[in-house]
């Protein structure tokens, strides 16, 4: 840091120095500004010609809203190219050097588009004095000029037949945004290289199908993604896991989904509810033999509730009714378990013929202290 002697991680985009000076930070970085992804170069360097210190600052700036809006007026074919050369200036990776736009590109942009801005009472951005940029190249690549095939709209924008750029999300939204309606034509998902969600007109990218995150209404993009065997269950990430491994206390799906929601309480009008543990695809009551308070705490925490729990042992009077029971494994304390389901097994007799019922408390949240009262 200058002028102090403290040391800091340089060029991180966050100023750690007291004086907020970071020097020699002009290193090339990949362009991630959504507006300017279609440039014939991939690297930029900051600060840019508008005084922004980072790409984030540039992306949230007034100019990054202004220029794309101005493109819609068709004032100059290469306006967006010029805007990008000052928002994310080209960086020569070999020399770590900023390459400016040519003066004529700046002058043409300003000549043709400044007056359009004036109509709506806005001003051409400050700091864009064209004289700061070099005269056009004479074969040397000291400044940037657009190629004939430079695209006016960025990848996140759709180009109307008239030349206007509109946000991709406005294409095929049922409302005409291009004056020639071209944004509402050829709207099939397939025609746009996208996947159409079944029973809806929503289009999603193919890479979003079966990726573990639902994107279609009704989660259709995450259905029929696995072909598991009869004795297997489908994980949230579409892996297949043997049903005996479901809720066994060990993570078998990579996303842990085989161990989610294994412990619940039955819905009841009483304050206490029967403890239910889901294991190997079936629901079980829990036998109260050797039950301890520590396990009640564990169950409440797993459900996402708090304590102190109220445990009740409920006698099973209806002996003829065959219940599905889970029973505590012997020496469960020594087994270093972290979930209730890991401490329970099937196929053991329940000596007490009683099941566990629990009342858990909701963890307190969202309460503010009452304002203090002062006598006046």
């Amino acid at each position: 840091c200058v002028p102090s002697t403290s040391c800091s991680e340089p060029c991180s985009g966050v100023s750690n120095c007291v004086t907020h000076n970071q020097t020699d930070c002009s290193q090339c970085e990949l362009i991630n500004l959504e507006l300017c992804m279609n440039l014939p170069y991939n690297y930029t360097t900051f600060p840019n010609y508008l005084g922004h210190r980072t790409q984030k600052e540039a992306s949230l700036s007034w100019e990054s809203s202004l220029f794309p809006a101005l493109v819609q007026t068709n004032c100059y074919k290469y306006l967006m190219f010029f805007a990008c050369t000052i928002l994310v200036p080209k960086c020569d990776p070999e020399k770590n050097q900023q390459i400016p736009p040519c003066r004529s590109l700046c002058e043409h942009s300003k000549e043709r588009c400044e007056s359009v801005l004036g109509v709506v009472g806005l001003q051409w951005p400050e700091d864009t004095y064209c004289t700061q940029f070099p005269e056009d190249n004479n074969g040397n690549k000291t400044c940037l000029m657009p190629d004939q095939d430079v695209k006016e709209c960025s990848p996140s924008h759709f180009r109307c037949r008239s030349g206007r750029c509109i946000l991709t999300s406005r294409r095929c939204d049922g409302q005409s945004d291009c004056e020639d309606d071209s944004d509402e034509k050829n709207c099939g998902c397939t025609e746009r290289g996208l996947f159409e969600c079944p029973s809806s007109k929503v289009c999603i990218k193919h890479m979003m199908i079966c990726d573990g995150f639902p994107d279609c209404p009704g989660n259709f993009d995450e259905k029929n993604c696995s072909f598991c065997k009869e004795n297997e269950m489908v994980c949230g990430n579409h892996e297949c896991v043997h049903r005996n491994q479901w809720c066994d206390g060990h993570k078998d799906c990579k996303d842990s989904s085989d161990e989610w929601g294994c412990v619940t309480l039955s819905k009841s009008t009483n304050p206490e509810s029967l403890l239910i543990v889901h294991k190997s695809t079936a629901d079980y009551h829990v036998c109260a033999d050797d039950w301890e308070e520590e396990l009640s705490w564990m169950a409440c925490r797993q459900i996402g509730l708090g304590g102190p729990p109220v445990t009740e042992i409920v006698k099973e009077y209806n002996q003829s009714h065959r219940r599905k029971w889970l029973h505590l494994v012997p020496n469960w304390k020594r087994k270093n378990i972290s979930t209730l389901q890991a401490a329970l097994v099937r196929g053991q007799p329940c000596r007490s013929k009683s099941r566990v019922s629990l009342l858990c408390n909701k963890e307190d949240c969202g309460r503010r202290p009452a304002a203090r009262m002062n006598k006046r």
Binding site: S8, G13, S61, L167, K251, Q302, S338, T339, G366, P369
Partner: protein, 241 residues
């Protein structure tokens, strides 16, 4: 917070400050459990190492930590796997603290919404933070009342950015009350029944808040992430330790 006011100490007990030496406060965060806080993913860009961060709770004046403040280091940062820095979508992350906070009236978690509990348009909620107030960075926590804005209306303010269902908009067309740089990751909370406050948004992005461009602020829509948050916390609490 632009257009807000200085908050009374202890009024927002879930607000925390995410700090890194030697810069100090970098982002806001929100306490959601004794060992868990939420913030936005963009706060960790280039600084994903948990060891460089600490979290301050129960603090009002950043310059004068009080007797009620508590500090924790960060054990783990869980970034949303779909976070996209170019379009600032899925901007959320979970912070696991190295040890539980002591719950006091100054340090207390906020409620999380269920996955079908949404912030209704035209309701009024609060944002808080130590971000820019327009002419300076404040030392004392600021609060501001903002109105929830429907997504379609919000999209009309941001002609060149896509507003997704993972986002929530709040504020005013005139930008009179808005979050600003340094508020990122802080809460947008709405009062629900029985005087309980629920977290519906995390300050994410917007126009340059102290410039001529106005409009609402954009927040990460916590309701959209309710399921993801619960599953992550469950997995890291019960299955991975």
């Amino acid at each position: 917070v632009i257009g807000g006011r200085t908050s009374r100490p202890g009024r927002w007990p879930w607000q925390c400050s995410l700090q890194s030496d030697p810069s100090g406060h970098i982002c806001g965060c929100v306490l959601i459990g004794k060992k868990w806080a939420l913030t936005v993913a963009h706060c960790f860009e280039g600084r994903e190492n948990a060891a460089v961060w600490k979290v301050l709770f129960g603090i009002n004046n950043l310059d004068h930590p009080s007797a009620f403040s508590q500090t924790r280091t960060v054990k783990r940062i869980i970034l949303h796997p779909r976070y996209n820095r170019a379009v600032v979508d899925y901007d959320i992350s979970i912070i696991e603290l190295d040890e539980e906070i002591n719950e006091t009236s100054y340090v207390r978690p906020v409620c999380l919404p269920s996955k079908d509990q949404v912030a209704k348009p035209d309701t009024y909620c609060y944002i808080t933070g130590w971000g820019h107030v327009g002419n300076r960075m404040p030392f004392k926590l600021q609060e501001g009342e903002v109105r929830i804005i429907p997504l379609e209306q919000c999209q009309s303010y941001f002609d060149m950015k896509t507003i997704t269902s993972r986002m929530l908009c709040a504020g005013y067309e005139s930008g009179t009350v808005d979050s600003c740089m340094g508020d990122s990751g802080g809460p947008l909370v709405c009062e629900q029944s029985e005087g309980r406050w629920t977290l519906f948004g995390l300050t994410s992005w917007g126009s340059v808040c102290f410039s001529k461009v106005l409009g609402p602020g954009v927040y990460s829509n916590v309701t959209h992430f309710a399921d993801w948050i619960q599953k992550q916390i469950y997995s890291y609490t019960f299955l991975l330790n």
